[in-house]
């Protein structure tokens, strides 16, 4: 293996691949990245067996070949090397980088690349395209609500659902739920959808940010895999992930359609109120109390750490109501909504509440819906 490449290209490719390298793996090879000099460039791949990121960067290949080097170690050097052309070559089982026209060199021990996990070939059963920005927004508006608890693995990711002339990104941890949609025809994706692990989506949304063209999404549900590929300037980024096994809970059933009590307020006001008051809340429960009154909303919290209350203006004209929420969940939701005002559709102090943007989103072909389950307050009946 021997090639010439720009430092910035190498650093970019290695940096992105590093994102999928497991931090603590019992297999030494999994802490490596694989460098492959091919006819169309240098491919750098990192994997933790679940998620694989590979980046193809332009370079001049003198002789093709492969080498596996310690990801962290190689990345550390690659990003510090001065800008400009450099050469990478395999000599006596060592990977040698020469840079700065004779200024310096670095050598890295290598592992046998034959042992590096093979990137499985994705035989797509369905494929669709999504604008990088849209993909990034969909992930940002949904992924925060996914579960991190190990007991229900199907909730540790985001459901990608097709049908009805749109694509929906849904996630829930059983306490709150977010669904972000984007209009378009995505023929390949069924209503049942596929579940992409949260960890893969982190890499995907980073890739979507870099993307200069549409992101191609390929799904092989039968083989339990999905792939995301995009061109980012001169680079081609590919992320391959295992899907989470369903079934995803039938969430549509739990979306209340006719909650009778409506509350509307300015999002920034409410965020400020919750944020201040939550400083007194219990750190685990993060319980804050919403007191709904005609024309206003009170947010309060009291623990042995202290107490506080904050009133904001709101449009509300149903019966007075007291309802408890986890402040963290509430802030996550409010942060994800891009409009100036938010609307709550509520029923009882124990049932699911719907939180929605008021008016159209900046992108009129997109929609957002959030659910939040209350905390039963100590003085509530039931």
């Amino acid at each position: 293996m021997e090639l010439n490449i720009e430092q910035s290209d190498l650093a970019f490719a290695v940096g992105r691949a590093l994102g999928s390298v497991s931090t603590r793996s019992p297999l030494p090879l999994l802490s490596c990245i694989l460098l492959e000099a091919e006819k169309d460039g240098l491919r750098v791949t990192g994997t933790d067996l679940d998620v694989t990121t590979s980046v193809l960067a332009p370079c001049e290949v003198k002789s093709p070949g492969r080498a596996a080097v310690s990801a962290r170690h190689f990345h550390d050097v690659a990003r510090k090397i001065p800008r400009g052309p450099l050469s990478v070559a395999l000599k006596d089982q060592q990977c040698e980088v020469r840079y700065g026209r004779g200024k310096g060199w670095s050598r890295f021990p290598t592992q046998d690349p034959a042992d590096f996990p093979r990137t499985p070939e994705l035989k797509a059963e369905a494929s669709l395209k999504l604008d990088g920005d849209a993909l990034g927004r969909l992930v940002a508006r949904s992924a925060y609500a996914a579960s991190t608890e190990e007991t229900r693995p199907q909730l540790n990711g985001v459901l990608l659902q097709g049908g009805d002339g749109k694509i929906a990104f849904v996630s829930t941890d059983g306490h709150r739920l977010a669904r972000a949609t984007h209009q378009g025809t995505f023929a390949g994706l069924s209503k049942d959808g596929v579940i992409i692990p949260s960890r893969a989506l982190q890499a995907v949304s980073r890739g979507a940010e870099d993307a200069t063209g549409p992101v191609e999404i390929e799904i092989a549900a039968g083989k339990n895999q999905a792939g995301f590929a995009a061109q980012a300037g001169a680079y081609r980024i590919q992320i391959l992930t295992r899907l989470l096994e369903g079934p995803y809970p039938n969430y549509e059933q739990v979306i209340p359609r006719s909650n009778p009590k409506q509350l509307k307020c300015r999002r920034a006001d409410l965020m400020e109120a919750v944020d201040i008051v939550a400083s007194h809340a219990d750190n685990v429960t993060r319980q804050v109390r919403f007191s709904l009154r005609r024309g206003r909303l009170g947010v309060a919290s009291a623990t042995e750490l202290g107490a506080g209350e904050h009133q904001i203006e709101a449009s509300y004209d149903a019966d007075d109501m007291e309802i408890g929420y986890n402040a963290g969940y509430m802030l996550d939701i409010l942060r994800s909504i891009p409009t100036e005002e938010v609307a709550f559709h509520l029923n009882t102090a124990l049932s699911a509440g719907v939180v929605e943007p008021v008016g159209a989103l900046p992108q009129p072909d997109e929609e957002l819906l959030c659910l939040i389950m209350p905390l039963r307050l100590p003085d509530a009946v039931g």
Partner: protein, 613 residues
């Protein structure tokens, strides 16, 4: 093949006598139930009035007792089941000592009404404190009814040490559950104060045709019964296991690893149709699950073992709850092997390498104390008052002073470390993911993370049980869980307490409970599993301890199961929160079981060890 009742020869009687067989009301029920099963009953009805020690009766449709034998049945060592010691090697019944009826009769008011199939009418005898006070004719369909009232009325000292009636009743339900598993061809019904508590119809048992293995029911029947007991959904998830060797046969329904429990309550062992306790069987079962389960979790499974009676000693325990196998290691291999085979296709969860041992520095093994010079931590220097954590200003921080944002274990573990913790707070270290090392003025405090969290949660739980109810995080997808019979009853019994803790539960009817909300500090747990662990722990503690301060037991059990474990990694803010909260409790130095939560190592002592004095 009903033999008549005869007195055992004195030398035989002396070899099998046990004496103390009725130690608690439950034992009386067990013996009477076993008699009904021995009599070939196909339908058994248990009625309890108020509590077992107050009054209960068992009616069966078995062979009945001849009028002339009624009083003989009440004599010590009179039995129809064996005649000689050798008969034990062919034993096909649960009873054999002829001791139960007389022992119960001695401590209660006992009435037996019975009619043999061929007899025209029934007859009865009424015995009080062992003396027959009335006898005569009565009316009854063929079969036997045994009524027991006022247990231990004439032994007041014994009465004092009875378990709580509710606990005893729960144990009775479990007893019936286990015998229902052993005898699927028998219908069981139980009412308490007229209210039906269980009803499991007799199953048309496929294997009872004698050409099948000796006329015994098989796995198919057991599965049917399990489904009547625990619900079809749960039963369908159980795995079959089957094995045979040297004339022994094992059949089992194995719970999936995720059904494993924190105690052995989920295990039922039936040997030759007898419900027993058996450490070797429990170990064999555990072995079969191998690394499918972490330490401290016990598979929930039912085993039916059939061994030649000659190779089984049932005469080892007064209540016949234990047996001895002639060849224990053969039994172990058979059981472990058959169960392991059936579990083989289940993959263990990813093994997470815990603790820091794998990344120990290379020089670690060279760190050795010089022999004989190792001083001990001076436990005596533990001070009852909370040691002051060194605060930025150098002065001790009082127990009530919490650092900002660190009131409680932080909910989100990925939270950036800097959040909330001021830069000048002393750093804390986690040692082997088990202990937290905290510098204090004049030394070092080493905190056991599990014990400390237990103390915190225990006080939280007590506060919630006695005062303001805990808040409940409502669930978007209410979880329906299937409980065992006794767990379900415990939910009903503890309803108010669980609600105070922050549970929002709705019993659907046995065996299912819907979880609508969970204590809001518990949101990372699997609510169903946690609830079951909690119930098991409570039921175990109530069985063990006679003083039943329910709140105390519930609080302890809650704390024990909700607390972080050794092996859980903690972030800086989490450690800080844990320590702040520990020292804000009323008794930071011990967990609710009385174990130490922290040890203090004085600087003086370190200095001495480094020769700095």
């Amino acid at each position: 093949m009903t033999r008549s009742i005869r007195r055992l020869a004195p030398e035989t009687a002396s070899r099998i006598a046990a004496g103390e067989v009725i130690e608690r009301p439950l034992s009386a029920l067990k013996e009477i139930l076993e008699n009904a099963l021995d009599a070939g009953a196909r339908s058994i009805a248990v009625q309890v009035e108020r509590s077992l020690d107050h009054a209960f009766q068992v009616a069966d449709d078995g062979t009945g007792i001849a009028a002339g034998d009624l009083e003989l049945a009440l004599e010590r060592h009179a039995t129809s089941k064996i005649a000689t010691l050798e008969d034990l090697d062919r034993l096909g019944s649960l009873g054999f000592r002829g001791e139960a009826l007389p022992s119960i009769a001695a401590v209660s008011r006992l009435r037996i009404t019975s009619r043999r199939r061929e007899a025209d009418g029934a007859s009865f005898v009424l015995v009080e404190g062992g003396r027959a006070v009335e006898r005569g004719a009565s009316a009854r369909a063929p079969g036997t009814t045994v009524e027991v009232a006022d247990l231990f009325f004439n032994t007041p000292a014994r009465r004092k040490f009875l378990h709580s009636p509710a606990g005893e009743l729960r144990a009775a339900l479990r007893l019936l559950e286990c015998y229902a598993l052993a005898y699927p061809e028998v219908g069981f019904r139980m009412t308490v104060d007229g209210r039906e508590r269980l009803s499991w119809p007799a199953l048309p048992v496929s294997g009872l045709a004698p050409e099948d293995h000796g006329g015994a029911p098989g796995l198919h029947d057991y599965r049917e019964r399990a489904s009547a007991l625990w619900g079809a959904r749960h039963a369908a998830q159980l795995l079959d296991a089957l094995g045979e060797r040297d004339g022994m046969r094992i059949e089992a329904l194995l719970g999936l690893p995720e059904h494993a429990r924190a105690t052995r309550e989920g295990q039922v062992f039936i040997v030759n149709r007898r419900w027993i306790q058996s450490p070797p069987l429990s170990q064999a079962l555990r072995r079969a699950y191998g690394n499918l389960l972490p330490g401290g979790r016990f598979p929930a499974s039912t085993l039916w073992l059939t061994v030649p009676p000659a190779r089984l000693d049932v005469n080892v325990h007064p209540t016949k709850r234990e047996v001895r196998f002639a060849d224990e290691s053969a039994v172990f291999t058979l059981v472990a092997g058959a169960c392991a085979k059936s579990l083989a296709h289940i993959h263990p969860p990813l093994t997470v390498v815990r603790g820091g041992a794998a990344t120990e520095p290379r020089w670690a093994d060279r760190v050795q104390e010089r022999a004989g010079e190792q001083p001990y931590l001076r436990l005596g220097s533990l001070r009852p008052e909370p040691p002051g954590l060194a605060s930025p200003g150098g002065g001790p921080a009082g127990p009530g002073v919490s650092s900002p944002g660190a009131g409680i274990l932080a909910g989100d573990r990925s939270e950036p470390e800097a959040a909330g913790a001021g830069p000048r707070e002393p750093e804390l270290w986690q040692l082997h993911r088990t202990y937290i090392l905290a510098p204090v003025r004049g030394g070092l405090v080493i905190v056991d993370q599990h014990a400390a969290h237990e103390r915190i949660l225990y006080e939280d739980a007590r506060a919630r049980l006695e005062g303001a109810r805990g808040s409940a995080q409502q669930l978007l997808f209410p979880a329906v869980i299937d409980l065992s019979r006794s767990q379900f009853d415990l939910v009903l019994e503890l309803g108010q307490w669980l609600n105070q803790l922050g549970w929002d539960l709705a019993p659907l009817g046995p065996p299912s409970v819907v979880i609508h909300g969970v204590p809001s500090d518990l949101t990372r747990e699997n609510p169903g599993r946690f609830l079951q662990d909690l119930l098991d722990e409570v039921s175990e503690s109530t069985a063990r301890e006679s003083d039943t301060d329910v709140a105390e037991i519930v609080a302890r059990s809650y704390a024990c199961h909700a607390a972080i474990k050794a092996g859980d990694p903690l972030s800086q803010p989490e450690m800080r929160a844990l320590i702040d909260r520990l020292f804000a409790t009323s008794r930071p130095h011990g967990d609710p079981h009385g174990r130490v939560t922290y040890v203090r190592l004085d600087l003086d002592e370190l200095n001495k060890r480094f020769g700095r004095t």
